[in-house]
């Protein structure tokens, strides 16, 4: 009996963790989805995530309001991403290499500027208790949802609609599918991509705020190790569709919550292996979802990542 209860607890913790851990994945993958739709890869979102987590924490600490922190995080994300957009607009500059550079720069800047933020407490993003109907404290804690999560879900819906049904979405997709067509219609491909990269950084920055202001809810140098990169890989798995990014993020949130969930019920053997699960899962999913010879369905034609 107690064994069954134990596993039910683990499952519930994973479910709650899927949302808690998956929220940053959701924002970063939505941002990357938008950027990649315009035909550019921003691998630097890992750096954006760490820098914006630091900026969000700093903003919240200094102003006392978590929402100001979220704004700071989004702005700093947009700023770093615009550096990517600007560099890639130069002739002969490779977007993958720029992404690697930004990853290093973003992490370096975040550690440098965030040195004094490791100790203090900042006000946190509020949570929405959706578990009011249950008496069980486990259910209640699992259903306590990050206030950013509904925003992310709304964003996924809006992004789907924007890309599919609006003039702006069409321009972005055109820049991603055929630079020639975009140029023929008089749109500057570089400007479109610059704006898409910046907007992508803005969205990813909100994910950073979720890291430092909700879960784990503090700033330290080990805050993100590869979540941004996993989110970039998720976009391939989601076939560049924002709604699929949502499901993929939840799946990966669940995988990421596995280690802490098992530890909370006392299973500590292989702790590091369970923590490495999301990376292994991402790799397996990439192997499974990539095709060796042909371009992937839904992939922007100008994108070099999926070829």
């Amino acid at each position: 009996m107690s064994d069954v209860m134990l596993w039910a607890d683990v499952l519930l913790a994973i479910l709650g963790g899927a949302i808690r851990v998956g929220t940053p994945f959701l924002f970063v993958s939505l941002g990357e989805c938008l950027t990649e739709k315009s035909g550019r890869v921003n691998l630097g979102l890992e750096g954006v995530l760490v820098l914006s987590a630091m900026a969000g924490f700093g903003g919240s600490y200094l102003t006392g309001s978590a929402w100001w922190g979220v704004g700071m995080a989004a702005l700093s994300g947009a700023l770093l991403a615009s550096l990517h957009g600007w560099l890639c607009a130069l002739p002969r500059v490779n977007d993958i290499a720029t992404g690697i550079a930004l990853m290093l720069l973003g992490v370096g800047l975040a550690f440098y500027l965030g040195k004094d933020l490791i100790q203090p407490q900042a006000s946190q993003i509020p949570s929405i208790p959706l578990g009011w109907w249950s008496d069980s404290p486990q259910v209640q804690s699992a259903m306590r949802i990050n206030a950013l999560f509904p925003i992310g879900v709304g964003l996924a819906v809006v992004l789907t609609w924007l890309l599919a049904h609006t003039r702006w979405g069409l321009i972005v997709r055109m820049a991603g599918d055929s630079t020639d067509a975009a140029r023929a219609l008089g749109y500057s491909v570089n400007t479109v991509r610059m704006v898409a990269t910046m907007a992508g950084g803005f969205i990813a920055g909100i994910g950073g705020a979720s890291l430092s202001l909700y879960y784990p809810g503090s700033w330290n140098e080990g805050l993100s190790s590869g979540q941004g990169l996993i989110a970039v890989a998720l976009v391939i798995f989601a076939r560049w569709r924002p709604m699929q990014c949502l499901w993929a993020s939840l799946l990966f949130g669940g995988a990421g919550a596995l280690g802490p969930a098992l530890q909370s019920v006392g299973v500590s053997a292989g702790y590091h292996l369970f923590n490495a699960m999301p990376y292994a899962l991402t790799l397996l999913i990439l192997v499974w979802s990539c095709k060796p010879k042909q371009a992937l369905k839904g992939a922007p034609a100008e994108l070099k990542l999926a070829r």
């Binding site: 002969r92 500059v93 490779n94 290499a97 800047l109 040195k115 991402t282 192997v287």
Partner: protein, 381 residues
């Protein structure tokens, strides 16, 4: 002819140096914003890196693994692969080197050292070759997969070092059993620098000889230039790419083995120090030329050792080096846009000078000149 040489020197040497100088300047401005004296920072940056014999030792000590992790980027890049998972290959190489005595006892002395380093190289090579295989046969982007594998490798490393392979006597800092004294890599006679530096430099030179002096290396570079063309002329492009990845990974794995056999004496968390990430930058600054990697690695080893001095004297965060490296990386890439500009400018200037020269010529000379001009235009086209 001389103009062409000047352009090559400008593109290959002056531009990267300008970028690095720009990064150092920018870093000075950055610390100045935080209220630190930039002049003092620059002086300490130089002193900490190359100021005296002690800092030279420190610099060279750090440069040794950087040369090898840079090869992990440079060699696959020559075959057209952007691999950034050198950190994982290094960590696994260190683990394999420290873990080999658990499997069987290598002979004492130099032969044992060779076995241990070989184990590191094989582990690193196999790890990065896997990223190459996934790209070639499954179409998985190698940049993403290699970095993911890096995190995976660190997870496996921590699991084994803190679990099954842990030395019960390592209390505060989980480590594997220390290596036997006779297997350790000693110091170069008369120097305070271990033999890893020599190994690193020799491997870099060998990689250069292979790339630019052998048919196999040439074929690898052809695949990197244009894989389709390479396949059309019958080169086994997939095998060449995977081989280049394996060689690069072996270099990074060797770096891990050397760090274990010369510095830490056992595998522990000190191995995970970002050497693989700095190696990426070194390779990009060296334009993926294995021989150019040597001086660039020394330079960045110098920045690394200056970092601790900046931390001690000016109370700057230990991430200052990362910021400096980030600036350098961004500027190096921005410089790509300026490549070839000098050649263009020289050609334009020559054309302008030729046009503005007042020429007194007979009609016959004019006809001859126009004919020659037409011929040269045809040549260019």
């Amino acid at each position: 002819m001389t103009a062409v040489r000047w352009v090559a020197i400008f593109d290959g040497l002056v531009l990267p140096m300008l970028a690095l100088a720009g990064a150092v300047l920018l870093f000075g401005g950055f610390v100045w914003l935080g209220g630190t004296d930039p002049i003092e920072t620059w002086v300490l940056l130089f002193q900490g890196a190359f100021g005296d014999a002690f800092s030279w030792q420190n610099t060279l000590q750090r440069a040794a693994p950087l040369m090898l992790t840079a090869l992990c980027v440079a060699i696959p890049m020559q075959a057209g692969m952007t691999i950034i998972g050198g950190e994982g290959a290094l960590v696994l190489g260190g683990l394999a080197a420290a873990g080999l005595p658990y499997l069987f006892a290598p002979p004492d002395g130099l032969l044992g050292t060779a076995w241990i380093l070989l184990a590191g190289a094989v582990a690193g090579g196999a790890w990065i070759a896997l990223a190459g295989l996934l790209q070639q046969y499954r179409g998985v982007n190698e940049t993403i997969s290699s970095l993911l594998m890096s995190y995976l490798a660190i997870g496996v490393f921590k699991h084994l070092v803190e679990g099954p392979l842990r030395d019960p006597e390592s209390l505060n800092k989980p480590s594997t059993l220390p290596l036997h004294d006779s297997w350790l890599l000693g110091l170069i006679p008369g120097q305070e620098v271990h033999w890893g530096l020599v190994i690193g430099a020799v491997v870099c030179v060998l990689a250069g000889l292979w790339l630019y002096g052998t048919t196999h290396g040439f074929a690898t570079r052809v695949v990197g230039g244009n894989a389709r063309a390479a396949r059309l002329v019958g080169l086994p492009s997939q095998r060449l790419v995977v081989c280049a990845c394996a060689l690069g990974g072996a270099a990074a794995g060797l770096a891990g083995g050397i760090e274990v056999a010369a510095v830490h004496n056992a595998a522990n968390a000190s191995l995970i120090a970002g050497l693989g990430y700095t190696g990426i930058l070194v390779a990009f600054v060296a334009r993926h030329n294995p021989v150019a990697v040597i001086p660039v690695a020394v330079l960045f080893g110098g920045f690394g050792s200056a970092g601790s001095l900046l931390q001690r004297r000016l109370d700057l965060p230990d991430a200052s080096v990362w910021v400096l490296q980030g600036f350098a990386f961004v500027l190096i890439l921005a410089c790509e846009a300026a490549r070839g500009r000098l050649g263009l400018w020289l050609a334009q200037r020559q054309a302008r000078m030729a046009a503005s020269q007042v020429v007194h010529e007979t009609s016959r000379q004019r006809l001859a000149r126009q004919k020659a001009q037409a011929a040269s235009v045809g040549e260019v086209a």
